[in-house]
Symmetry: none
Subunit: 223 residues, 4 copies
DNA sequence: TATGAATGAGTATTCATTCAT
DNA sequence: CATGAATGAATACTCATTCAT
C-alpha cells in the first residue's frame, strides 16, 4: 500500500490497481451505504470515497444493487467467523458460552460502523433492494439464529437449561433482544427518549433471558 | 437532512381545516404509505386513492413528510386507546393482564395493515423522514414501553414477579419480542427461511419471557 | 394565439396553455426529430424548441418513443388527406390522376421538412424505435401503397393500362421510384455524386414507368 | 457532426499492419454492425466476436467509425467484382444481361447477411456516421448505378431499347426497384403488412421495367 | 502487439412542489 | 376550495476512448 504510493508519488489520473480495486470499492461502498442509506447513496459519492470514478464501479459490478450485495456478502463472511470465534472453548458450559457471545457482540457494537450495517439492512434495503435483503437474511441472520438455537439445544442436553424450553423460540427471543435493543438504543434514539444505562440494558437483559431458560434451584433461599 | 426541509405551515389567508375534510386524505395516505413504503409512495397515488388531485394535498399539508406525520399521529391516538382497553380489568393479576395484552396485540397483527405501519416506520421512514420517525417513537413507541414498564412494576409490587427484576429492561425485552418477531416472521420472510408455527412462536415466546419474570415455586417437583 | 400573447406580455416562467400545448409539443418534436434523427434528439432540445421544460413533455407523453409516435401519427393524418386531395377529380383518366399525384408529391418535397420525416423513419427510427416504425409503415406507407394499387387497377379496368400488368407490383415500383429517388437525390447526396437535373429525374422517371404500364399504339410511327 | 470526430490515423512508431491481422477483425465487425446497427453495436461485442479485446481494435483502427469504414470498403471490393461477373458474356443482348444481373442479385439477397449491410447503410449509418455513408455511396452505390446506366446505353445502341429512353433515369429506377423493394419486403416487414409472393415481386417487377424500356412490336398480337 | 483497467461525458426519466386559473 | 399544468432538480447507467503495463 504505502510502498505503492512511493512508487507513484503523483497518483496521476490513471492509476492501475487491478488486484486491490474491487475490495477497496466494496469497503468504500459499505461505508457510504451505511452512513447514508441505500437510496440516498449516490454512486458518485461511493466512487469518490474509493478514489475512482463512477465508471470504474461499473467495471466491476453490474449496478448499485449488485455493489451492495457484494459489499454485504464480503462483510458477512468476516462477521460469521468472528462470531464463531467469540463463542470460545466448546467444553465450557453453554450458559457461559452464550454470555460470552452476548457480551462480545455488544462490545463490538460500540463501533458505530458495526451497527449501521444492521440498520441499513432493516431500514432502507428491505424495501429498496429486497433481493439484497433476502440474501442477507438467509446468509447471515438465519445462520446466526441457527447457531443460537443449537447452543440452546446443547444447553438443554447438558442439563443447563430447562428441558421444556423451546430452543427455536428462545433463540429468536435472544436474537431480537440483542439486535432490536441495540438499534433502538443506539440508532433510533431510544436512549434519549427513555434513557437507560448501557450496562444495565446489557446485563439485566441477559439476566431476564437466562432466568427464563434455567432451572431455578435457589429461588427459595433468595426470595 | 430531510428535516431541514420541513416547512412551517404558512398560515394562509383562508383558514386551513386540517381536522375536517383531510381525514379521508390521511386514511388514504397511510394506506398507500404502508403498502409501498415512504419513498416509493407517489403523492399522485395518494391523491388518486383519496379521490382528489395532488394539488389538494398541498391545501391541507405542507408536503409529503407532513402528510405522513399527520397520518401517523392520527393513527397512534386510536392505537393507544385500543391498547389500554386490551389490558382489561385493573384488578386482575398483572401476569394475566400482560398475557391478555400480548395476545390481543398478536391477534391484531393478523391484519397485514396493522403490521405494515410498523414496518413502514422502522424501514423507510427512519431514514427518509427522520422527523416523523422521532415523533412516532416519542408519541407511540415510548408510550407503550412506559405502559409495559409500569405493568411490570405493578407485578413486582403485587408479588407476582421477582422483586429483583429490572422492569425497564424487561419491558424492553417484551416489546422487542413482540415487534421484532412479528416483523421478522410476517414481513421479512423469516417464516420461509426458518419456518415455525405461528402459535408456537406466540405461546412459547410468552412462556420464556414470563418464566424470566416470575418466581419458580414448582421447579423442584418438575425437575 | 396572438391575443393570448397580448394578454401576457411578459411570458413568465409559468404559462398555462392546456389546450395548445400537446400539439405545439408534437410540432416542435417532429421538427427536431427530423433534423437530428431519433437517437441524436435530446428531449431538452425538443422542450426548448416548444418553449417548455422537459418535465412538461412527460406530462403529456410517456417518453421519447411515445412522443415520436404521436408526432408521426398527427402528421400522417394530414398527409393522407392531402394525397387524396391531390388525386383530383375521379372522373379523369387514371394516367392523368397518377401523374397529378406524382407531380404534387414531388412538388411538396421541395420543402426539406417534408422529406426529412421520410428519411427519419427509414434511417434512425427503423432501428431505434421499431414500434414507431412499424406503426408508420402500417398506417401510412401501406395505406399509400394500397391507394396506388387500386388506382392502377382502375386504369386497367378503364383500358388505360395493359390488362396483364401486375398492379400490386407496379404500385410498389412507383412508390419506390418516388420515395427512394427523392431520398437518394435530396437527402443522401446522390445529386452531388451523380448529378442529374431535378426535372429530368421527375419527368423521365414517370415516363419510363408509364410506358411500362400502357399499351403502345403509336410506337410504329415514332420509331 | 460525427465526421468532425474522425481522427487522422496516427502513424505510430510501430508499423501498423492494417492489411494482415485486421481482416478477421473487419469480418467480425461487419457481422455485428449488420446485425445490430451502427449505434447499437458495442465495440466490446465486436472484440468478443473477433476473439480479441477492445484495446486491440484501437491498435488497428482509429475508432468506431473508421472500423466500419474499413469493413465496408473491404466488402464493397468483393461485391463489385461479383456483380461484374454476374453480368456474364458481353456479347449477349443487353436485356438478357440485365435480367441475369437482376436475378443474380435477388438470389444473393436470399442470404440475410447480404441484405443487412444495405439496411445498415441506409438506416443507422446515414445519420450516425455520414462520412462512412458518403464513402459507401460514392464507391459502391454510384459505381453500380454507372454500370447499370452504361448497360442501358448499350441496349439503346444495340437497338434493344427505345432510343428515347433516358438511361440515367432508367438505371436509377431499376436500382431503386431492386434495393428498396428488397428492404421493404425482407427487412422492413412489408411482406407481413401487404403480402406478395417473392417470385411475383421479382418477375413482374422486371417485366414492368423492361416494358418501359423496350419497343413494343408484339403488343397487337398479344393483346 | 495486446491487454483490460479506468475514464468521464452524455441523458432519459421521475416526482415533489408550485401556482395560474 | 380545488384543479392539474408546469416546473426543474436530481441520478443511475452506458460506452467510446485512453493508456499503463
Amino acid at each position: 500500500m504505502a510502498s505503492t504510493k512511493l512508487k507513484t508519488p503523483r497518483p496521476s489520473r490513471w492509476e492501475r490497481r487491478p488486484e486491490a480495486r474491487p475490495d477497496e470499492l466494496l469497503d468504500a461502498a459499505l461505508e457510504v451505504f451505511a452512513a447514508r442509506g441505500y437510496r440516498a447513496t449516490r454512486l458518485d459519492e461511493v466512487a469518490r470515497a474509493a478514489g475512482v470514478t463512477k465508471g470504474t464501479i461499473y467495471h466491476y459490478f453490474a449496478g448499485k444493487e449488485q455493489l451492495l450485495l457484494a459489499a454485504v456478502r464480503r462483510r458477512q463472511q468476516k462477521k460469521i467467523a468472528e462470531i464463531r470465534e467469540a463463542l470460545g472453548d466448546e467444553s465450557d458450559p453453554v450458559s457461559v458460552r452464550i454470555a460470552r457471545l452476548y457480551h462480545s457482540v455488544w462490545e463490538r457494537w460500540t463501533d458505530p460502523r458495526a451497527r449501521q450495517v444492521l440498520r441499513l439492512m432493516l431500514s432502507d434495503v428491505s424495501i429498496e433492494a429486497p433481493e439484497v435483503f433476502r440474501t442477507w437474511m438467509r446468509e447471515g441472520f438465519v445462520t446466526n439464529l441457527r447457531m443460537l438455537t443449537s447452543l440452546i439445544e446443547q444447553g438443554k442436553a447438558q442439563g443447563d437449561f430447562r428441558s421444556d424450553v423451546d430452543a427455536e423460540v428462545a433463540a429468536r427471543l435472544l436474537q431480537s433482544a440483542m439486535v432490536f435493543q441495540m438499534l433502538l438504543h443506539f440508532e433510533w434514539g431510544m436512549n434519549e427518549l427513555a434513557p437507560i444505562s448501557n450496562n444495565r440494558l446489557v446485563e439485566q437483559g441477559l439476566d431476564v433471558f437466562m432466568r427464563g431458560l434455567r432451572y431455578e434451584h435457589h429461588r427459595d433461599t433468595e426470595s
